[in-house]
Subunit: 340 residues, 2 copies
DNA sequence: GCGCGTGATATGAACGTTCACAGGACCTAG
DNA sequence: CTAGGTCCTGTGAACGTTCATATCACGCGC
């Protein structure tokens, strides 16, 4: 038995109380310049006093705008939640909030594809725009959204020849910078420990590492792990190749605890005998001993760029023509070493 | 110049195409049992074919229900995002989704109090219910919401004599269990390293530790840290008290890297000479060497309980009478040791 | 003093849905 | 054959807002 929730004060109530018409109240809120100063002040005070807020549904129904951005949350493995998401969402909520928009979390129902969930959002006119992340190169959602003409943006680049409504971190460049940093600290033999998952950003980091190594004329090996258990063993193996590397580059912070343990097992002291670098600047990397040198993602700038692109699509009907790459910020912490 | 977004198919369009009235289409969606099987099938097929979805705003305006739960995200310190949130939100989105609800993230505008942001949500009829977390003992939001009679629930207990619409983890009991686990592994001298922040859940853990120590007849010291930098030094100090503790209980996983480093500095091997336990089961604790024994929060059960309480409030108008404490799950990993 | 322009305020309609109720078809029993 | 009941379907109204447009008041120039 759904309770009959009492409706609140309506625009009509305020209008009557103020002795003006509905439209005047509406204008006081949406176009204050159209009112005479004295009327505006009187009406504004009354609105405040009566606690009037325009009913969001009625406003949306009439005006066609919802001030909501839908975000389809990727289905995270509960064993390994994408810790990044919390920071990204945080930034998105802040950026959207400043533009007067809110974020609605949309999850495909069990057995429902992401594209289908998006179709629901669009057809039910639930949101003004859609935000995607964690898309693969050939994700059908991107093409689907592009076809519908519905405003959307993506965190993470899409392939060439496909809609370019994305913002992404220039992972490759950040990795090149990191290798350059190692080079300038005197390192000549640098090993790379990566994750073998086929995720685009991981491959960009790997590519960046190789470019950096070539550019700075460094030598080294690469190795990849598939799961938690392998990390220490594979890292030890890397550290044992000869000549022994003086630095270990990780493609993600999550490998760091394993790398530290491997170093210790090999009798090496991170921050003295061995430099270790990560990627992402997860909060806990600052708590490792020694704290980890890593790359911070410019989450707030990413969020700002995404919001501005979304709003451009919504307000001007024109999707952005090209993707936007933002630089990551290397964060130098004591896990870096200097080689004589 | 806001683009005139073309409106989609309306209920009227489908009705005309099917040769029936609006109400029949509405019934096909909201009360299928009211239609004859053949009509239902025909209409359903047509709805599917035309891609009709009821306009959310129109539906909300008329029926007064939004199928949205607003969640005010706590303003996280960007330097130390509450990593838990990502897992909690994940669980909430899933639990709410199964009940047909979505989560709307609401952030107070700069300079706006949380209570004021909630007032906006209620007055603008943006959501059917409100979810809070990270409330302090005397948070005014709780009383405010209670007064309005608006459906709400809280993750985290509220003080006695105040509205009890909460679900929480029984941190104290979990800590008692953890001490019991140490006791059953032969430990007799156990040290406690806590965080000094005045957060309710930290104080519950501390209280649980003391109760457990008394109950199992163990001896030990306690120490508290205020920031990142102190962790290693304070932990080393704890390990140096005599008689030296055989186990170190942390009030949060984030202290673990520092505790491991302290142990190493003292020449102790975690998992052999020293047991270490954490709290929260953050993802990275599994990657520490050795993996950390900790307490997993039953996030999914918490989310389910919160959603069921919210829906009860929404549908029956009756707020729950008492809070609900859920047990945490101790997770035994190699950082535990056995003392002869 | 009067017409006209300008800017503020008021009015009716419309957005798309669901509610309440009216109407109609069909079946069964008398 | 018809009355009465049971489903099923259709119609008008209403939700609260904003859009388009009408009306009004006022000041200014002639």
């Amino acid at each position: 038995m759904p309770a009959q929730r009492p409706r609140g004060v309506s625009i009509q109530d305020v209008a009557r109380a103020a002795g003006v018409s509905r439209q005047t109240i509406s204008n006081a809120i949406n176009a204050p310049h159209k009112l005479r100063p004295d009327t505006l002040e009187r009406v504004t005070a009354l609105i405040e006093e009566m606690g009037y807020r325009p009913d969001q549904s009625a406003r949306s129904l009439r005006s066609g705008t919802r001030r909501i951005i839908a975000y389809t949350t990727p289905e995270t493995d509960p064993d390994n939640p994408n810790a990044l998401m919390s920071g990204f969402l945080e930034a998105m909520v802040a950026a959207a909030g400043e533009a007067g928009y809110r974020i609605l979390l949309v999850r495909p129902r069990p057995g429902q594809s992401r594209a289908r969930a998006l179709e629901d959002v669009i057809a039910a006119r639930t949101a003004d725009a859609i935000l995607l992340s964690d898309v693969l190169e050939d994700d059908p959602c991107v093409d689907y959204l592009h076809e519908t003409g519905f405003p959307f943006a993506v965190f993470g680049r899409t392939g060439p020849g496909r809609p370019q409504a994305w913002v992404d971190v220039d992972s490759a460049q950040a990795m090149i910078d990191l290798v350059g940093l190692l080079s300038s600290h005197g390192h000549r033999r640098v090993a790379y420990l990566g994750t073998s998952a086929a995720l685009p950003w991981l491959r960009h980091r790997e590519a960046g590492f190789r470019i950096g190594m070539r550019r700075f004329g460094l030598a080294g090996h690469e190795a990849f792990v598939d799961g938690l258990d392998e990390v220490v063993a594979v890292a030890r193996d890397l550290l044992n190749r000869s000549p022994r590397p003086t630095a270990l580059v990780l493609d993600d912070d999550w490998l760091a605890p394993g790398a530290y343990a491997a170093a210790q097992a090999e009798g090496l002291t991170v921050g003295a005998d061995l430099a270790v670098t990560g990627f992402n600047d997860m909060p806990y990397t600052r708590l490792l001993q020694p704290p980890l040198t890593t790359v911070r993602l410019p989450l707030r700038r990413i969020a700002d760029a995404l919001v501005s692109r979304l709003l451009q699509s919504v307000e001007e009907g024109e999707p952005p023509e090209a993707g936007l790459l933002l630089a990551g910020d290397p964060v130098l912490r004591p896990s870096m070493t200097t080689v004589e």
